[in-house]
């Protein structure tokens, strides 16, 4: 994105090409955009409109009688009132998972980018490798790792971090661990891209000017890695908040997140207006959080 910003535009060029050629080229970007735009229109914008309409259907409708569009705005407060705990829970879990992922991911990305030397590519492959198996399979594997009779729980019981009947599976801990693990690569990769471009001489300069390593990190490394950090946290946080696989497989109904409710509203309870309203509430909540976050952490490069 930075690179694009520095590409000189035609207006900035001193010698403008002849008018006829420029006219032809002016349309070109739009033509190139056409397939992508059409794709988005048909498979994203139109379904979104349909979903928006569904969220305003009369909630007393049913499958057999059909739904009338009565602009039932009340669907929104109703859905929120019934399921606000799951909303809060979704954001709490993904926020905790994000903090854990940052604590692991930042040093990891830094080490790969700056210290790995010839192992760099191998380590990158290691970060991406889990993505070669399906999301579902990876989460199911965590069930084995965290199993009540597994080695990990046995060890934690032996050192008395867990009671004799304690468990990890089917607790909030398991869900947060699952979220952290599953979305970690989305955080690490953009961070790595930012940190990889970090000029080590800037750190040398900082230390020449008597900055402590901590201060050099705070004043040089961190600001320069900001674009990657912000992109990474967004790529982590947005899907993690809407996720329902981890809560479904590693948690119990007491850990269900908002995604589980949307799933059950559409597929099990067949309450389309409520499912649609929940979907839009989730989108709105995420947009609000992202908006506040970008204002605070602020960089225009992400937008």
């Amino acid at each position: 994105m930075t690179a694009l910003a520095h590409v000189p535009t035609s207006s900035g060029q001193p010698a403008a090409p002849p008018a006829a050629r420029r006219g032809r080229y002016r349309l070109l970007p739009y033509l190139l955009l056409l397939p992508g735009a059409a794709w988005l229109l048909i498979f994203f914008a139109l379904p979104l409109l349909q979903l928006a309409a569904a969220s305003l259907y009369d909630p007393s409708g049913s499958l057999s009688t059909g739904y009338a569009l009565t602009w039932a705005v009340g669907n929104y407060p109703d859905a929120l009132q019934a399921y606000w705990p799951q909303f809060v829970r979704s954001f709490a879990y993904s926020a905790i998972a994000l903090v854990l992922a940052l604590l692991m991911g930042y040093p990891l990305a830094y080490a790969i980018a700056q210290k790995a030397g010839r192992w760099k590519n191998l380590l990158l492959v290691c970060v991406v490798a889990p993505m070669f198996t399906s999301f579902l399979v990876r989460t199911l594997a965590w069930k084995t790792i965290l199993s009540d009779n597994g080695a990990l729980v046995g060890l934690l019981r032996d050192v008395h971090l867990l009671g004799p009947d304690g468990r990890l599976l089917a607790t909030p801990i398991a869900v947060v661990l699952g979220l952290t693990y599953n979305f970690l690569p989305f955080l690490v990769l953009p961070l790595y891209a930012s940190l990889e471009r970090l000029d080590y001489r800037l750190l040398e300069a900082a230390s020449d000017l008597y900055a402590s390593p901590l201060r050099a990190f705070r004043k040089v490394t961190l600001p320069l890695s900001m674009p990657g950090l912000i992109a990474g946290t967004l790529l982590f946080f947005i899907p993690a908040t809407g996720d329902y696989i981890n809560a479904e497989l590693l948690g119990t109904p007491n850990e269900y997140m908002i995604g589980n409710l949307i799933d059950s509203a559409f597929l099990v309870r067949l309450d389309y207006p409520q499912g649609a309203a929940l979907s839009f509430l989730l989108m709105a909540a995420i947009l609000a959080v992202v908006f506040v976050y970008l204002r605070k952490a602020g960089t225009e490069e992400v937008l």
């Binding site: 979104l48 409109l49 349909q50 928006a52 309409a53 305003l56 259907y57 009369d58 409708g61 049913s62 499958l63 057999s64 009688t65 059909g66 739904y67 009338a68 569009l69 009565t70 602009w71 069930k143 199993s147 009540d148 009779n149 009947d165 468990r167 599976l169 089917a170 497989l249 948690g251 119990t252 109904p253 007491n254 269900y256 589980n260 409710l261 799933d263 059950s264 559409f266 597929l267 099990v268 309870r269 067949l270 309450d271 947009l287 908006f291 970008l294 204002r295 602020g298 960089t299 225009e300 937008l303």
Partner: protein, 394 residues
């Protein structure tokens, strides 16, 4: 770097809000007056039966629900024999993985009176009941299926969603009851034990399938799942709620309880007989229990949807699978309850052990304890399902 985001702030927010409002308005304008009803009638959605000229049949079933040759997995002995005998070319597809998911797959076609491209689809009782209620299922000609008429188990006749057995013909049946792993838990006899015994706390699961879990709870309260009142349902639900709140119940599951039960992460659960028998073959410590208060009997049913053009061929296949000798071969492979009378005698010739297994051929005592969940109308279904989902947390 320019100061970030300054231009976006207020104007951006305003544009965003206006944009969303415009989006909603367009949505309303585009979709006009909502959706049409999905209700159809068989007469209004008639299709010609081309069976006489087209010897074809498209059959959608669940995975691992048809016998295959031990040596060659691509061969299906009973089905191949049917094809050879009748000359009907059967396209067999294992594309039913979940009732709700399958409903989502065919609902737009059936609601719009269009063909699904399937002549037989196999769905569980409650989903069959819903589709029958919506008028999506063709009535069958009983005269063409003498085997079904003669051999269908008595306890599977007269079901409330299909009193004359002419819409939904059971493919296989099963029980929902209790199961436990004797390596980690002492024997369990009743639903109340499952929901309250302290040594099982946090190691119990129940099925997210409302009819199975609630049916067992209704029975444990002495009520009849085939005929209950809203107050009785609430009683049973309160019992379940207490068990969830006391953390006795660890979670609600679909088929996925089976590996956890085998590992011992789950000590006891509400589960399905077919799964538990399979686990029992590998580990004899895993046992299925029929509680004294009663068990739930469910079936997966063969249905012919509207606009399917090979109904007579479908009837021929249903009739074929109700031949006791064929049914025994199928039951020997799938290990669910065989809905065909007389198949037990045929099974003696194939495998006497299986013939004596009450979870494949239940005896009178067991059948008398089994109930089929009552058919719900749309309003009840929505109301009960919503209440149940609230308790199980979804």
């Amino acid at each position: 770097m320019r100061s970030p985001l300054r231009p976006l702030t207020r104007r951006g927010l305003l544009t965003g809000t206006l944009g969303s409002a415009a989006l909603l308005a367009t949505a309303g304008a585009l979709t006009g007056c909502g959706t049409k009803g999905a209700q159809q009638t068989e007469a209004g959605c008639k299709s010609d039966d081309l069976s006489a000229t087209e010897k074809k049949l498209a059959f959608s079933n669940w995975p691992q629900y048809m016998d295959v040759d031990e040596k060659d997995e691509s061969k299906r002995p009973t089905l191949d024999a049917f094809i050879a005998k009748s000359g009907i070319q059967v396209t067999y597809t294992e594309d039913v993985n979940d009732n709700n998911e399958f409903f989502g797959k065919v609902q737009n076609q059936l609601a719009g009176c269009q063909t699904t491209g399937r002549d037989i689809m196999v769905l569980t009782d409650w989903m069959a009941a819903r589709m029958i209620r919506l008028g999506w299922i063709q009535k069958l000609d009983k005269a063409k299926m003498p085997n079904v008429e003669a051999n269908l188990l008595p306890s599977l006749r007269n079901r409330s969603f299909d009193p004359d057995s002419e819409l939904a013909i059971p493919w296989q049946s099963g029980l929902a009851g209790l199961a436990y792993n004797a390596k980690v838990a002492k024997e369990i006899r009743t639903v109340d034990e499952l929901l309250t015994r302290p040594d099982l706390k946090g190691k119990v699961t129940a099925l997210s399938e409302m009819r199975d879990t609630m049916g067992l709870l209704l029975q444990s309260n002495g009520h009849d799942p085939a005929n209950f009142t809203a107050a009785q349902f609430d009683d049973a639900l309160n019992k379940l709620k207490k068990a969830v709140e006391s953390k006795q119940i660890r979670k609600f599951t679909g088929n996925d309880y089976a590996p956890d039960l085998a590992k011992g992460d789950i000590a006891a659960c509400i589960g399905w007989s077919g799964d538990v028998i399979q686990l029992g073959f590998e580990d004899e410590k895993i046992k299925f229990v029929v509680p004294d208060s009663g068990v739930m009997l469910w079936s997966d049913n063969m249905l012919v949807p509207n606009k399917a053009t090979h109904r007579a061929n479908a009837e021929e296949l249903m009739n074929y699978y109700y031949d006791p000798a064929v049914a025994a071969k199928l039951a020997a492979y799938v290990n669910y309850i065989c809905p065909v009378k007389g198949a037990q005698a045929e099974m003696e010739k194939i495998d006497p052990d299986l013939a004596a297994n009450p979870l494949i051929f239940p005896d009178e005592a067991m059948l008398s304890k089994s109930k089929v969940f009552m058919a719900l109308d749309e309003k009840q279904e929505k109301e009960y399902e919503a209440k149940f989902q609230q308790v199980i947390g979804a």
